[in-house]
């Protein structure tokens, strides 16, 4: 029974179907399945998609479609985790966003999805995020990693500003910082004191695991 429901939930994510995923997540709660097992089944599905993407068998619309299906179902499971007081197993927590002045979303969304596939809990701060907002989100979510994207040469310096603001607020040492985007290079990442940089989305997800020691 439990395997059947979790199998259907996993399949709904593999079918990019947010309605079915939400429905089967709800049924898993009704059937009394441990919410951490439900979450693990969903992570399995997104990992499978992530592996297909990394090997070139699946493409960006598949990755984002599956992530949307999972995102739709997650609140149902999170509510049950909270209600039962269960502890979710996670690789780590990431706050991610595109810096102020920059409204490019695709690269940031890819990395966020692949981080989910690696088992991270991801808080997406969105695009055009000010340094103050990043600091606020770090304070609120206490992430292991802050990930920032900047696609344009003009907006890359904003990443430096976020790092400096975190220092001023005494939060810099509480979080690892990784940066990426078309305008960023390893040299730039080093110059602003970031902990990591990777030019590709799959590489960024692997880098995040390294940064949290997993």
């Amino acid at each position: 029974m439990s395997d059947d429901i979790l199998g259907k939930l996993k399949q709904a994510i593999l079918d990019y179907d947010p309605d079915a995923a939400t429905d089967w997540a709800r049924k898993s709660v009704e059937a009394g399945i441990k919410p951490t097992d439900t979450l693990a089944a969903m992570t399995d599905a997104i990992r499978e998609i992530g592996e297909g993407f990394s090997s070139g068998e699946l493409f960006l619309p598949d990755l984002v479609g599956a992530a949307d299906a999972m995102t739709a179902a997650v609140p149902v499971v999170e509510a049950e985790i909270q209600r039962t007081g269960a502890t979710a197993v996670t690789t780590g927590t990431v706050v991610i966003g595109t810096v102020f002045g920059d409204i490019h979303t695709i690269g940031k969304t890819m990395v966020a999805t692949l981080l989910q596939a690696e088992g991270f809990t991801v808080h997406d701060s969105g695009i055009n995020v000010t340094a103050e907002q990043f600091v606020e989100d770090v304070r609120t979510h206490k992430p292991d990693i802050l990930a920032m994207s900047a696609l344009m040469t003009m907006t890359a310096p904003e990443q430096r500003k976020v790092v400096e603001t975190l220092k001023e607020q005494g939060l810099r040492d509480s979080v690892k910082i990784m940066v990426g985007g078309g305008a960023i290079t390893q040299e730039f990442a080093d110059s602003i004191g970031a902990d990591g940089y990777d030019p590709t989305a799959p590489g960024a997800a692997k880098l995040a695991r390294t940064l949290v020691g997993k």
């Binding site: 493409f59 960006l60 695709i106 690269g107 890819m110 040469t153 003009m154 890359a156 310096p157």
Partner: protein, 503 residues
Amino acid sequence: MEFKRGFTRRFPPLKVLTDEQVQAIHRGTLRVLWTTGVLIEHERALKLFEQNGCKVDYDNYRVRIPPDLVEECLRKAPSSFPAPARDPSRTLMLGGNTLCLAVAPGHKTVDDHTWEPREATRKENYDAVRILDALPTVHFFSPYTPYFGFQGVPSCMAMLESLAARIRNSGKFQCVGFSNDSEMFSIEMAKSVGIEILGTCAWAPPLALYRDAVESTFRTVEAGFCLRVVGGQLMGGTSPASIAGAIVTGNAEVISGLVLAQLIRPGTRVLVKDFTAGMNMNTGAPAFGGIEIAVHNTACSQMFQHYGIPIDQTTAYPNSKSPDYQSAMEKAFRVMSAGLSGGNTMLFHGSVHGELTHHPLQAILDDDMAGMMGRYMEGVDVSTDALALDLIEKVGPVPGHFMSAKHTREWWKKEQYVPNTSDRMTYPEWMTSGKKTCIDYARQRMEDLISTHKPIPVTDSQEAEIERVLEKARAHYLKNGLITEDEMREYRASMQSPNYPYE
């Protein structure tokens, strides 16, 4: 080849849409503008739209534009207009059956042996502008060109240093972008040296126009300059994956920008640019070299001929990393489709890989491809002299020939485009002369142009004005914190050469 004021197409444009399909896309555009609407993050613009019959949702910055206003504004914008250059012999007419090509920019330069990217120096930036000024098929300069910045320059000054370099080293028509209010200083610089510029209003797809783009629009139009409205999208990412759907969203963007320009100042000269590319579904990056862009652009040309508005095509960026077969294949389809379909402008010369790298060597190779396209667009002269019936009668069958005829001496140079960089040798000649490729010929031409080309100089008073506006901008950005004290020290140090501003 001499500089021409664009290439003139002497035959009907290629069409890929039926009249019914043109109408279907137009109706779709009107529906999106009126039903879906667009996001415009600017109070003054919202009020202007509301005063002219648009539905405005101030809380969500959403503007819905009625069809009759769209049609009225499309009629008000001129179907062709002059683009005056500092050197009057370089002044262009944008629109009609003319294709004008411009520089395709890059963030950085490349090493022209390893093809790896690196930041350009001040001298490389100025030399590249000089080479581009010399190339006859570069009709004008686009923003950020040739490089998005160069060593020592803080990023907020890149746009203005770029314009300064282009005014100093070229007499051709100039286009500017916007970043952190840079257009205020671009406009001041242009006015103070007595030139016109093409300003920019760039959309954030899908369907959003942010505050800085609207500011640039107001400032450009109120200065009396012409405006380039850029919609830009990745099909499947920021627009529908279908070409027709992408044209509808792109149309909705650029037409909304055109409407805004006409509401600010009726009759404003507008060049629209539907900057669309497929998305690389492996990486999310633009698939700039894709043939689908050429198909999309051909259809867009047709739509804007229907509207009677000049259109700039998607920049001819290749995905290749060096000037190789892939690069030539990607660029050739794009410039060919622009020339055949009635595109009016295209950023073409010098991009090595996407918008990330540019090199004058590549621009020299592109100059030949552009020249070949220009020749194609000239079409076939079928005059009595060209038909040459009397000559054919005189020469007759073999052993007659045409080599000694005066007609041949007069006509072959009209009909043939002779490339500067193509290898046309026989095998024996090629093997005994170093097996040179087009890259070798381009390198030689690059060295020749660097040592010989002298752009039309700016006057002392123009130079003083350029430097005054640059200093004003530097002070502005230092004051508002976009340049730090450390960055300013480094910037000043980069200006110590006795040959400043040229190196």
